[in-house]
Symmetry: C2
Subunit: 398 residues, 2 copies
Amino acid sequence: MSPASSSLHPLSPPRRLLMGPGPSNIHPRVYRALGMDVVGHLDPEFLAVMDRIQDRLRQVFQTENPMTISVSGTGSAGMEAALVNLIEEGEEYIVGMNGVFGMRMSEVIRRRGATVHPIEKEWGEIITLEEVQKAIEDHPKSSGLCLVHAETSTGAHQPLEEIGRLTQERDLLFIVDAVTSFAGAELKIDDWSIDACYSGTQKCLSCPPGLAPLTLSPRAMEKVRNRKSPIDSWYLDLTLIDNYWAEGKRAYHHTAPISMNYAIHEALALVLEEGLEQRFERHRLNSKAMVSGLEAMGFSMSISDASQRLPMLNPVSIPEGIPDAEVRKRLLEQFNIEIGAGLGAFSGKIWRIGLMGESSKQEHVIFFLAALESVLNDLKIQGDFSGGVSAANSVYSS
Amino acid sequence: MSPASSSLHPLSPPRRLLMGPGPSNIHPRVYRALGMDVVGHLDPEFLAVMDRIQDRLRQVFQTENPMTISVSGTGSAGMEAALVNLIEEGEEYIVGMNGVFGMRMSEVIRRRGATVHPIEKEWGEIITLEEVQKAIEDHPKSSGLCLVHAETSTGAHQPLEEIGRLTQERDLLFIVDAVTSFAGAELKIDDWSIDACYSGTQKCLSCPPGLAPLTLSPRAMEKVRNRKSPIDSWYLDLTLIDNYWAEGKRAYHHTAPISMNYAIHEALALVLEEGLEQRFERHRLNSKAMVSGLEAMGFSMSISDASQRLPMLNPVSIPEGIPDAEVRKRLLEQFNIEIGAGLGAFSGKIWRIGLMGESSKQEHVIFFLAALESVLNDLKIQGDFSGGVSAANSVYSS
């Protein structure tokens, strides 16, 4: 051993139960894929992996869009890729603003020199069809509408189908953030007339963070290819990236993250083996059990209408007298359970309890409720927290 | 097994010897790091990993720059991060243009609305101190100089030390692409007055592609923080990313690629355990043996002066009568060896034989020379190719 090595701290991360806003837990097959032999990014074997990733992404996005890829960056890079390619200086976009990620889309759009017409709602509320209609009437020059399908900061579950039909009628681009919903809840790119949609790998896909599933409709790609101004970003230029991913072209642009693409290849296989409908139903069922358990313990969900609440990220109000940070710290240190804190305006006010992908399992729901009961009792919080586990179990046995 | 699963192709990549322009081969410890349990990106355990990555990156970059991080994208994202944060519309930059990656820097600079003053040289040649001096005199309003330390398209090894001193005297920002040299050849950020430098993980660091080591001097960060215009990119905005990486801040920006950061954490440990000087010497020695072997077989290096040629990416001219693609195909299919084709203007004219990180080993040099001899004989190429292995071996025994 050389002298230097003695000071090098070895890597030995703890085994957490990941019930926050992502990353979620990872299936052993995905870990094994990560450790498989790296080959060259233009190796015929890797090109075949890329083909299969595209095919599998199309199945999960429920689309036939040729431009369907994994962007070589995290979910936020997927957002930036969708927006910087489509949006030109001087254009106008309507953006739903009811949480952190609508604000983030606005920020990216403004940096492109375009105007944002926000539809502002209270955090946790959804944007209605009528509100979109009004915004389109108020801002008739708008080029598109941006909505967040699954608002990770609030747990709001935005309906898209009717709004998609409307944007199609009015010839508006429909751009959707599906970072948290992809592979965990119904998302039909073609049926819902979505023109651009991006996600991340570390949510319901249960793959480590580092890639961004992205799909653009032929109509959206036509706009990208016929821009008046060049795309600001070279790294995220979809005309160049298309030449890299398109079968028969494979023109070098950048070196794809090989191991991460192995991981998404395997994670997508797990999704398709389970079946989309079965997977969505599993997310709904575990959420229902979690909510029953929490309510039996005296908690309230911060979004009361289950149809407007995400099944994979359950937002629960923190009652007066319960110390937010201390509870999360004890869950982490005593039970190796991570849950999500409130973000932005919701800091200290809600917990975000993730049940995404591999994390969405009956045993995790039960273990979490028991652990929370234990922590609250240890902290001598007033109340009877004993009913959570049995309330959750009765959902599974009904 | 559900019906869908029967059609899902399993992942089973071949075990290649990676002797192209990257990715290079990966140490088993790095594969094991990739497969370790993912934790949350704000988990105290992961924050400690980030701290150690920064510390290790600083040691390999030989810098004390606080802004030293792994960008959540590939080497090209590192390039874009360095340039989009520093460069403002209307500015002028001098760029060395002697291969693909100087051209790429120019392209990114032009997309920002800045002017490029190229120092054009033949591909494979280096840029001299005198040429930089003249360019600065010709373009006195320039804000900076951009050079590629290790031009991956040609194998040219650009000297930086004296040029760094000059840019410092003339108060120019010095921006360096070290994608292929980082952790494989001497690179002294502070001593050489480099203001911004980026790399990739899949070259001499022998980590899978997917992250970009990046460092900026305090002077460069001051320019970033005092820009007149906002940074175009939200994803690569170093003022936001700094708040995410800086100890004691850790403000959420995006979700870092956890597994890839585990991998770079381990790959950097391997570099520091070996020792920088020892590692650079290993790269030089294996390159010397490879070149001796190739020359004994009758090949010529496309850059004849060893001091101007990269030790980790050895550019060799393809003689008339040797079928480029067929030789590479046979090396890949019969021997599982990948070497690099020529890029751009050098397509069909050179091979780029990588000896990077874990790929830079005596046994690989010998195996490659023997495999090449075998392929050339099988193809009935005229010549005596039998002297390669012994010429290489005599370098090791001298």
